[in-house]
Symmetry: C3
Subunit: 161 residues, 3 copies
């Protein structure tokens, strides 16, 4: 192999990792957009078929696409009247070209169906990811909820049309 | 063309798209920094001359650089005593090398000139972007404000010098 | 040098800058994760040995690794019972291949050891960064705290196990 071809291959590997970083961050973006906009197809697309979603208390743990569907349709969407997730601080680390972990922090503002006050939630997502058939997916997400409580006396209001 | 030259061109196209992704995210960063720091030149630099900024209720819709100037100088800056935007969850999609869309979510904390209480705003920005003369710009931004209300009894305070 | 080798070198330089952008953003991610998780080794790893951390009022200015240790162990961790930083809006600019600046915005939610109410902090970090021995580090961080106050009547609560 000539030097320049070898150089191109090495560049291609580095480029692939950068693209993978964006693709991995995009998974959590799709999680936020999918969940908040109640776009279940988008939300489901980020999870591998053998995924595990450990939400922890008070929600529990869910497995596979059937588990994702149950968590979202039977537990979470019924509990939230509206939600607005913001994800930041993504730390992506690669264990191989098709294996990675990502830790990110999330803020969620919303309203529960059970009451009028605005809720504030702070959480950390610790993810294990794999690329299969050319597509990055979340294989396991462990959620740590740091706080989940009302903002006293505050009610979310959209501007009037 | 030799294989390695062809490989370089393909790598160059992928690299260009990664650079474009950062450039597109940077536009919303400049939007936040420019608006919050009252740096109008920075704020204006992100908009194409034929741009449309649909802020929606209660603010309205604005067109072109004259519209941006009016919205910012006559409507928004007079309304806000201070503002602090945080942008996240950027989903960038390319329709061509010079055409893209981006959806992101924004949280804004601030104080209106009309009253002392801290305001909290949650919004989604849906953008159409084009690269013209080598520079990415926002051609259209549609804003959906999810909530815009006071944080009850809370007043923003900076530390004393 | 052949054209394709020259092309590869130019691609390598652009790739290096993209990797540097991620590495620079990762420094603030490590700052947030390190500080909030009380992982001092992670927190310290982002600072150059000759660093300056101008936190400003009410905390002051700190220099070098000894200063970082003092600020964190003697001042900040004792003051916070818990903290949750979210960093966004990173504007990275390069002055050379090994020199950059970055401005980002940060939101922090937490509880002080001095009282029960949730605190909200909004700040901007203005950083000077250098790559030394192949590793990006923060040489100087100037913090501007826009607000730092309680969320009236609100107390952070984690879900019960």
């Amino acid at each position: 192999m000539s030097n320049s071809a070898a150089g191109s291959e090495s560049l291609a590997a580095r480029l692939d990792q950068l693209e993978s970083r964006f693709a991995i961050i995009d998974l959590t973006t799709a999680y936020c957009h999918g969940f908040d906009n109640r776009d279940f197809d988008l939300f489901l697309s980020i999870w591998s078929e053998d995924c595990v979603w450990n939400i922890g208390p008070p929600f529990g743990s869910f497995s596979g696409h059937a588990g994702i569907r149950e968590a979202v349709h039977d537990v979470l969407w019924p509990a939230w009247a509206e939600s607005h997730h913001l994800s930041t601080n993504h730390l992506v680390e690669f264990q191989g070209v098709d294996d990675a972990t990502c830790v990110c922090d999330v803020d969620c503002i919303g309203t529960l169906t059970s009451g009028p006050e605005c809720q504030m939630v702070g959480a950390t997502y610790s993810d294990r990811l794999q690329r299969r058939n050319g597509r990055w997916q979340i294989v396991q997400r462990d959620v740590t909820i740091h706080y989940f409580n009302a903002v006293a006396g505050t009610v979310l209001q959209a501007p009037a049309d």
